[in-house]
Symmetry: C2
Subunit: 651 residues, 2 copies
């Protein structure tokens, strides 16, 4: 029996579930669907395949759509056995669906929904049908995601403020199930990422009346649940944690307990935020944000090394052509999508996917190009959100940091078009032009730094553009030295305050070899959250904020997301820089290990390299390395050692 | 209390119900969704309105969408009473819906969903919210059309071929309801537009097993119903005819019984095919076709004079921008859409609607322009259907009849852009160019006629291009005379065989004053169907086909639709030409009555003029005319009489 899949028009599955995801935000009783263009799916498609049949064969098409099967000249309904052959037979399946996206499953010995089906939407040319590795069984429904479930009992039950407070061992995305000792009675359950939130029936985000028949509440993020008006033993709560089971392939443990805890909490944070898509946070927004997802791609490579979630996220973010508004309405988030495709390709080497996305990459860049000024700089339009970071920028005219990203995108376009054998010249020219004009307009000789805006005359310097200048290779060596001295090591330039931008800041520091600073930041910033009892890493953390106000954000006393993907980046810093696993070829086919031994008395780790793993063990004296995969070297104290698959290397 | 409406993003209602309509075709157990691009709706929209409130007021937003109400700075869930004011208050309603289109109903004394709400889809600029006159009550759901119902009992019940044949008085679009004399038993009901179809359980289009609980079958077209295996009295059938109640405003009766019957059967045919949209036929296809709808606009003006169904149909047909494929995949059907807007404007004078459609008119013409050749002629692309009619054309290179329509579209664009105060020059130039190049390339001096193709060298003449040349004013006077002689009155040129194109042919003959020919065609062609027992007019009728095969079409023995809108055109010919009601100003503000008295010994008729009526009574000697509306004259035997509203004129 061949492996069969549910089939649909490529992208429809992701766009449909992305809408479900982006419309799932709930706050205190009302829904808050994401405030950007929400992309529809196709409603009428046809699937086609030609067969040369040696003998008669039978098949059956399953679908909840409206439609029919055309086999040769004859039409058949769905769900009926169809006999055809021998000889040449064209099979087409016509399907329409209004409330979701058309999808089909074909079962049969010869004619079945394996690889090779093409699909058309009566708009564009035929393309290979879309599918998903999770939807392979005929009894499934691709419009309903099937979560894995794990049952959690409370770790504590405390009587307080006239009710019962239940605590679970960690944060979960769970359906609460209630059992009543003395039969059903109407209750209300207040959930919280913190005990404080759960105990505040007015301000907690989620509160539910369990379904009287099933005892179930809607799925939501929670660690604590408070039931007012009940006493110990009157109700029993269970949390059915629902998650997408993406195997964790990395493993890390060292002599430093704080660092171990940071890794583990980051891992848990990241797993919670890795569902059908990479989302920002599990309590809030539960939305798919391009800039957030971009950082998740970096962590993913070192933790799950799962290309599928990258791809689902990238497809969902980009939506349909024509592009008329920026991804998430944010200009820089459109640009990160291009850089995300490049990052994804480098990590997994899947050129087929890049090829599939290429027309949409081109149309995105074409859309951006329509909003450039006479120097070729990209400028936000009236409704565009020029974000970069929550920080004070001088946003008059073209903004420097946006140009850095924009240049990096043209560079990415150039590289990818070369890989695909497409014409790269225009992309190369655009990049070359920006690489010249950005410094010409934005480099301030006197300040020795890039300024936000050359239009305003304010010559305002922020770290952001200067960090991008290093990361995206816009600054030359002399400028890089200047940047370190005049910006990075200059306390007068406001510090980065968000974990979001700290990702770039720390990445740059690591690339410059400033490991100690990063190590200290891990301890202080992420360690600081642990000291305050974090079991997942927060959207934002300011050590100066008093404990009482630590969950406050956006002027809302529980507004802060306590489990936010962009705070899981310690995985990436520890794996890539401290364990020193750097990839020199796409898809993990070439890599070098350069562990920073001096930071550890001992460690052991397993990290994914392509579809295989590398393992290291350091006991303070000897480093043992075992890898299953080819293409690796180790670099220690300036010496280079080759790694042989299946052989342990001791240094 | 102000008149409130359900609100949505304009067009969504029509696009959603059009998908429902175009996916409703069923044939012998399988669905057959229309084979063209099926347009999705918006899924995330916001409705906005600003109020200056004299005092505090309360309102409530109803919606099945996901979302919230923002009143001032505060968010509220749907369904809850909201207090606000006094003072300036901005109200916005955020709504997301995946399975249908977001829609809201706002109830309150001051703040309510009356006129004046704007809506945005996070893509285009804000536009006035969409609404529909049928959806004004809070308990309604705009995703479910509420049909009017009328109950029909069978007019005969006959035992035959081992079952019972039920006949209803005419064709219906009905839900059959079954009652069982001796309790439920599983039965099958075979429906038919003809008795022959109902009695053929294998080949009939619709056959149903009634729902065991309700006794109901799905809605379908039927006049006959056959229940095999039951005897008289065992089951009782009722037909719940479901229809959109568009009032018939015209009334016609004359001394000629055949003509009266033709009017009545055409009226019934047209009413059945006028639902939420103008559809082609009620058994098949039940699809919204642009060319078919174009003809319905002409009949509508004289029968219902209902602008709303025109507008719903036009909006549904055009779909969303960007335009990437032709309407219904047919190049000429795209062009008829433009001409349909013009026709609609002329009939009802609704410039607001034209203005709303104008951007889509421009983008449609822009789309067409992308497929023109070096002479500016429109040429079908690979997947375009160049239809014109079911007839033998020489379709090599640009097809003449398409150019006629294309030129007429530029002319329409010019006229409409002038009305809207938009720049018309380019349109005028395009029209002028085509008016010159079409004859230059397609007029064959020797044949004295337009030829289909100048590329092939075959010089093939059909009636179609020549009819369009007259109707759309491409032929000059000399050419028109030539066309009459060499084409219209030339038996060697194949006759028009479809009722579809007979509309254009007869319209042209009427315009040329050849009433006798049209009168004869009414008698022979439409009268011929009556002679064969038609209660609705057929998709096609060939007097030469034996009775036994008269329901056969597309190689299917019951393939022919027996109730097809494009065969209802006698209404138009009788009203416009024989009753002679011609409009000289848009929206019925100017008209002339020129009845062809010589064809009648007597008649009486009422016809809609704008929102009012005109009545005529002819007894063979005296013509009495009464009108409620201004702007009318009567022309009899070369004399012109003015009509005064409210006064009867006797001639």
């Amino acid at each position: 029996m061949k492996q069969c899949y549910w089939l649909w028009y490529p992208g429809d599955f992701e766009l449909y579930h992305a809408m479900q995801q982006n419309f799932s935000r709930v706050e205190r009783g009302y829904g808050w669907p994401a405030f950007w263009k929400s992309e529809g799916v196709r409603h009428r498609v046809v699937f086609r395949r030609s067969y040369h049949l040696e003998q008669e064969t039978s098949f059956c098409v399953l679908s909840k759509s409206v439609g029919y099967v055309l086999a040769g000249e004859k039409k058949y309904p769905f769900g009926k056995e169809i006999l055809c052959g021998p000889g040449e037979v064209d099979v087409s399946v016509h399907a329409g669906c209004i409330e979701a996206f058309p999808n089909i499953y074909v079962k049969g010995d010869i004619i079945c929904s394996d690889e090779g089906w093409m699909t058309e939407d009566y708009d564009q040319s035929a393309v290979p049908a879309g599918k998903n590795r999770y939807f392979t069984r005929e009894e499934q429904d691709p419009t309903r995601w099937e979560y894995s479930e794990k049952c959690f009992e409370p770790v504590s039950e405390t009587e307080c403020v006239g009710g019962m407070l239940f605590e679970f061992e960690t944060e979960l995305t769970a359906v609460l199930q209630v059992e009543y000792t003395d039969g059903y009675r109407p209750i209300r359950i207040c959930c919280g990422e913190s005990a404080e939130e759960a105990l505040d029936p007015v301000h907690c985000y989620y509160s539910w009346e369990p379904d009287p028949d099933t005892g179930l509440c809607p799925r939501c993020a929670l660690r604590f649940a408070f039931v007012p008006g009940v006493r110990k033993g009157e109700v029993h709560l269970t949390a059915l944690h629902q998650y997408v089971d993406i195997p964790v392939r990395a493993d890390f443990c060292c002599d430093n307990e704080k660092i171990n805890a940071i890794w583990n909490v980051a891992e848990h944070t990241f797993r919670l935020c890795s569902g059908i898509f990479f989302i920002d946070g599990v309590k809030r927004d539960k939305w798919i944000w391009s800039g957030d997802a971009y950082q998740s791609f970096f962590v993913n490579q070192y933790l799950f090394a799962d290309p599928d979630i990258d791809q689902r996220t990238l497809i969902a973010l980009r939506g349909n052509d024509p592009m008329t508004t920026h991804i998430n309405t944010i200009m820089d988030y459109s640009l990160f999508w291009i850089l995300g495709i490049k990052k994804h390709y480098e990590a997994y080497g899947d050129l087929r996917f890049v090829k599939q996305m290429y027309p949409k990459m081109c149309s995105l860049m074409g859309f951006c190009q329509k909003q450039t000024d006479e120097h070729g700089f990209i400028v936000g339009r009236k409704k565009d959100w020029v974000y970069i970071d929550w920080a004070d920028f001088d946003k008059e005219g073209p903004v420097c940091a946006e140009q850095m990203l924009y240049a990096a995108c043209w560079k990415a376009m150039e590289e990818i078009s070369v890989l695909l054998g497409e014409d790269s010249q225009k992309f190369q020219e655009n990049y070359a032009q920006l690489k010249e004009t950005i410094p010409a307009f934005f480099w301030d000789e006197e300040k020795g730094a890039f300024i936000d805006s050359y239009v305003s005359g304010k010559r305002h310097v922020t770290r952001h553009a200067n960090i991008f200048a290093v990361l995206y290779d816009i600054a030359d060596d002399m400028q890089q030295e200047n940047i370190i001295q005049n910006v990075i090591n200059n306390d007068e330039i406001p510090a980065i305050t968000t974990p979001y931008f700290n990702f770039f800041a720390l990445d740059m520091l690591c690339q410059m070899g400033k490991f100690q600073e990063v190590w200290d930041t891990l301890h202080n910033y992420w360690g600081g959250m642990l000291d305050r009892g974090a079991v997942t890493f927060w959207e934002e953390y300011d050590p100066m904020v008093p404990v009482k106000a630590q969950y406050d954000m956006y002027g809302d006393r529980f507004g802060k997301s306590l489990c936010h993907a962009w705070s899981a980046s310690p995985i990436y810093f520890l794996a890539r820089y401290f364990m020193g696993l750097k990839f020199t070829q796409t898809g993990g086919t070439g890599f070098v290990l350069e562990p920073q031994l001096s930071f550890f008395s001992s460690f052991q780790c397993t990290l994914p390299v392509g579809e295989k793993n590398v393992r290291m063990n350091w006991d303070g004296k000897q480093l043992k390395i075992f890898t299953e995969c080819a293409g690796g070297t180790v670099q220690i104290n300036g010496k280079i050692y080759s790694l042989c698959p299946g052989e342990e290397l001791c240094i």
